[in-house]
């Protein structure tokens, strides 16, 4: 390219490419800009207004955020979201990695199992929620029948109990997503060279030592990536809870997304709901940022 004349042809090439590039991107970009970019930007305006269903937005400054500070339901929703994330993330990580390690071995039926593990992920939330509600049924459901069978006389009430509804939702969430993340881990495991394991074995490393010193470092990038997606997915959890428990009993499973939905679409307080949305946005953004920074520091 160095031999090319620098002045006019170059500039016209840039022009031509710009026009060509944009005309390819445009059909998708129009829809994308209108339905994603504009709303994301508008969110930061709406949150400072008192927009309701009749639609005159009045600038109210930080009033929505001050109201949020004293809103007990908001804090409950935030606490429950964190509760879900704190248990869902490590459980899913462990289950997905465990399954991936299992499937990475020479066993029969591995292909069949991979299909099975992926099944929950492609099944709709509505069907999943209704089945699990039946399985968790306190009196007659098979989960409690099993628990009674192994000697637990007073099994939990699951979705009918304030203390146990969140664990029930966490179990179902983990069950649904572990197959998906397993697939990502499996792909990561394939990139670890077999020679590393052989060398470790020759040096007399036990299976556990091989896992800690070869597998875990080898999966570094995959684990980071999975954690980031898993975190965002946990913070935005919504449809599963909406269909399974509707946030109840009481407010025991009310999460941020659902609170936004309730304020915005049920009570038509668009301004206030947007302010809560910003908290959700900041939560996802902030935690992702911290993860990126931590990852970079770890790489040094």
């Amino acid at each position: 390219m160095a031999t090319m004349p620098r002045t006019r042809p170059k500039r016209s090439l840039v022009w031509r490419n710009t026009i060509a590039g944009w005309s390819f991107i445009l059909p998708n970009f129009v829809g994308f800009a209108a339905l994603t970019l504009v709303p994301v930007v508008a969110l930061f305006y709406l949150a400072f207004t008192n927009w309701n269903v009749f639609g005159v937005a009045e600038w109210v400054g930080t009033a929505n955020f001050r109201r949020m500070w004293n809103d007990a339901s908001f804090w409950t929703a935030l606490r429950n979201t964190v509760y879900y994330a704190v248990f869902h993330i490590p459980l899913t990580l462990a289950a997905a990695l465990g399954l991936a390690l299992l499937l990475n071995r020479k066993l029969r039926g591995v292909a069949f199992f991979r299909t099975v593990a992926f099944f929950p992920y492609i099944t709709s939330i509505v069907a999943i929620a209704v089945v699990w509600n039946q399985l968790f049924s306190p009196e007659y459901g098979p989960v409690n029948a099993f628990l009674r069978g192994i000697g637990i006389d007073n099994p939990p009430g699951w979705t009918t109990s304030g203390d146990w509804s969140m664990p029930a939702v966490i179990i179902v969430g983990t069950w649904r997503y572990m197959g998906y993340y397993m697939l990502l881990f499996l792909a990561g495991l394939q990139t670890i060279p077999a020679q590393l394991y052989e060398a470790a074995e020759i040096d007399g490393a036990t299976p556990w030592q091989r896992f800690v010193n070869v597998t875990i470092p080898g999966l570094r990038h995959t684990t980071f990536f999975v954690t980031v997606i898993l975190t965002i997915e946990s913070f935005k959890v919504f449809d599963l809870i909406l269909v399974m428990t509707q946030g109840g009993p009481g407010q025991s499973t009310l999460v941020l997304s659902q609170y936004i939905y309730q304020k915005g679409f049920v009570e038509s307080q668009f301004g206030y709901a947007s302010a809560v949305s910003i908290v959700l946005f900041a939560l996802c953004f902030g935690v992702t940022l911290i993860q990126f920074l931590a990852n970079r520091r770890g790489e040094r």
């Binding site: 490419n17 944009w22 390819f24 998708n28 339905l35 939330i125 449809d239 959700l280």
Partner: protein
């Protein structure tokens, strides 16, 4: 599911020889999910037994809900919850599968959902594959920044901007029409991302020589890139179809009229209407899952490839 051997050698690389003849143009972004690395020592007997036990237990835990769904859909309503639990329906009640059509608007729901899923998939393939070409193959100022905006929004939860989006959609008079769902799903950044990842594995020389031969950029896309990216298009089509089929939140917010309901929305109203008809509810669930299950089993390879390539959900 009955014939696991069919899926046995599941290579998650897009097979290099399939559309292209040179072997050195193997996609780099894709990852192989094959059997265990060859040359590794066979595990000892004890390990194998433990492995099989764990596999069996995990499979049981994963499949139990599906087994319950099918079995309960074939029971009389009184037989769904019994002590002890009946694990085999006796008598087998096929009637549920007839009754559900009369007691619900299943036909409307399935029709709406099919219409939406097909339209969205078509549009996403079209706009996604075209835009991805612009990002992957044409150099122009601001391109990378623009692409960053695309990728960035994948990480922004939809739940956080659904309110402004809804207001916008209402202003455009699209809410409470099927168009809202089409608009919502058809222009996703995911398709652009997946296709771009794939295009970048196709060697630049191919398009260079086509350019020398006088093909326009659109000609290169249409005649060279598109035919070569059939596996990636298949992945994108399957993932988009299933995502649209399963979507619950979009229809919940945008579709208010009963005659616009999708299968997920319809099933959920049915559940709250007949909340004691346990067997019939399971029948509806089976019917809502069935099309997706069939599509998944037929195109499983492409699913896995698409997800391993992008690592992102639709």
């Amino acid at each position: 599911m009955n014939r696991p051997t069919r899926n046995a050698p599941l290579h998650t690389t897009y097979p290099p020889g399939r559309a292209m003849t040179t072997t050195d143009i193997r996609p780099t972004a894709a990852i192989t999910v094959a059997g265990p690395a060859s040359g590794r020592r066979r595990p000892s007997r004890g390990w194998r037994v433990a492995g099989y036990t764990a596999l069996l237990l995990a499979a049981a835990a994963l499949l139990l809900p599906f087994y319950w769904m099918v079995v309960a859909s074939l029971k009389t309503n009184n037989d769904v919850f019994t002590i002890p639990i009946k694990w085999v329906p006796d008598p087998v009640v096929w009637r549920n599968y007839v009754d559900i059509w009369q007691r619900s608007d299943m036909t409307t729901w399935l029709g709406n959902t099919l219409l939406l899923s097909v339209t969205v998939t078509f549009l996403q393939l079209l706009t996604g594959s075209i835009a991805a070409y612009g990002f992957a193959r044409i150099r122009f100022p601001g391109r990378n920044l623009l692409f960053l905006a695309y990728i960035g929004t994948i990480a922004v939860p939809w739940q956080s901007y659904m309110i402004p989006q809804f207001i916008l959609m209402s202003k455009l008079h699209l809410s409470n029409t099927l168009w809202s769902i089409i608009a919502l799903q058809a222009f996703g950044a995911f398709g652009v991302f997946l296709m771009k990842q794939f295009y970048e594995t196709i060697p630049e020389e191919l398009s260079e020589s086509a350019r020398v031969d006088g093909l326009t950029e659109f000609g290169i896309y249409r005649r060279i890139m598109l035919p070569l990216s059939r596996p990636a298009l298949a992945s994108l089509a399957l993932i988009t179809f299933v995502t649209t089929w399963n979507d619950y939140l979009g229809p919940l917010i945008y579709l208010r009229s009963p005659d616009l309901r999708t299968i997920q929305l319809g099933l959920n109203t049915f559940i709250s209407q007949y909340n004691a008809e346990y067997a019939l509810i399971m029948t509806g669930s089976v019917l809502s899952v069935l099309p997706v299950a069939v599509i998944f089993l037929l195109g499983q390879r492409y699913f896995v490839e698409g997800i391993a390539t992008t690592g992102l959900k639709g």
